[in-house]
Amino acid sequence: MSDPLDVLRARSSAQNPPPRFVLELYQRLHREFVLPTPGIQRDGPAGAPVRRAVPCLIVPDINQALDFYQSAFGAGGVERHSLPDGTLVYAAFRLGDTPFGLAADEPPWNRSPAILGGSTVPIDLDVDDADMVVRLAVTAGAQVVIPVADQSYGQRAGRLADPFGHLWIISSPLQPTS
């Protein structure tokens, strides 16, 4: 005698969830891999919602920008994110322990300094030897905006514009005069 409850047995039950959910879950899973980095501590009040900030630089060409940041600043941890058809849409890299993103010009959302006619946000890089870093960056194609000099606030610092128009302040601690 067959069991009448066998009628309950599931046949293939694959079913597509709503497209909204497909995308949301994918994004959430990606964040599981991208955000948590051991050793990063949260400052601020307990339960503060922000873990850290990740600047995203808009450039005309992602690969060209990666080449520059690697040769000028020794960028590490490079990741390229492409669509299945091979189109490169995003890249990530690190300078020291700070993560950066790179995305290509895509007006009206993504506009590089070249399109805007300038940059509003200089990025400070704390380095061991400002003179050496600036020399490397200039060799790789950066332009000096303010030459490296001893500053009254106790740093040796100068300012660069990279080939894509992003501004960088390069600072190292002033050596105590002997």
Binding site: P4, L8, A10, N16, Y26, H81
Partner: protein
């Protein structure tokens, strides 16, 4: 165009391993849960829990490769956890109605749709036992393991669940012979 819509095809890292099975595994995991819990919101929540667990295990190196079968197994455990929570709150609301007797060798043909509806209407303990035993077609010993009961207790639970099922099915006007 954001990073979330891209796939990191140029790296063989844990995220790529998860992203590679995602398109195929998602409908399987979601469908498995949707079919068994009859509630799309709950199915979405439990699907997300299963995939996030996979992500964390891959990230922490406790899981090397993720497969659809692994995800469905995790999804089943998430569903059982959900049933446990539901059973606790049901017990707080009312004492569990224990069905006495046996179903006396029920020999009939059930309407599949009506049977599935009947199953959804049962209390969570009965629903859990019958879902694992009949919908998932698992052996009694496996049902016992998943529900954290002895085989004897599980057999007794299944008998009571079948009685409850038959009573509910016949009350909905299901075929009676």
């Amino acid at each position: 165009m954001g990073v979330s819509e891209s796939s990191a095809v140029q790296r063989d890292d844990p995220f790529v391993r998860l992203a590679a099975v995602y398109p195929e595994a998602l409908p399987e995991v979601y469908g498995y849960l949707r079919h068994r819990c009859g509630d799309s919101g709950l199915a979405e929540d439990l699907t997300a829990e299963a995939f996030v667990q996979a992500a964390r295990s891959l990230r922490d190196g406790t899981l090397d490769q993720v497969t659809t079968a692994w995800l469905v197994t995790v999804a089943r455990n998430k569903l059982i956890d959900h049933w446990r929570r539901q059973a606790r709150s049901e017990q707080m609301l009312r004492s569990v109605e224990d069905e006495r007797g046996d179903d006396g060798g029920w020999d009939t043909r059930l309407d599949a749709m009506l049977a599935a509806e009947t199953l959804r209407s049962l209390g969570v303990q009965h629903r859990a036992a019958l879902t694992l035993r009949y919908v998932d077609d698992l052996p009694v010993a496996e049902v016992a393991r998943l529900l954290g009961r002895t085989v004897a207790a599980t057999e007794a639970l299944l008998v009571r669940a079948r009685v409850a099922f038959r009573r509910a099915y016949e009350a909905t006007g299901g075929e009676r012979r």
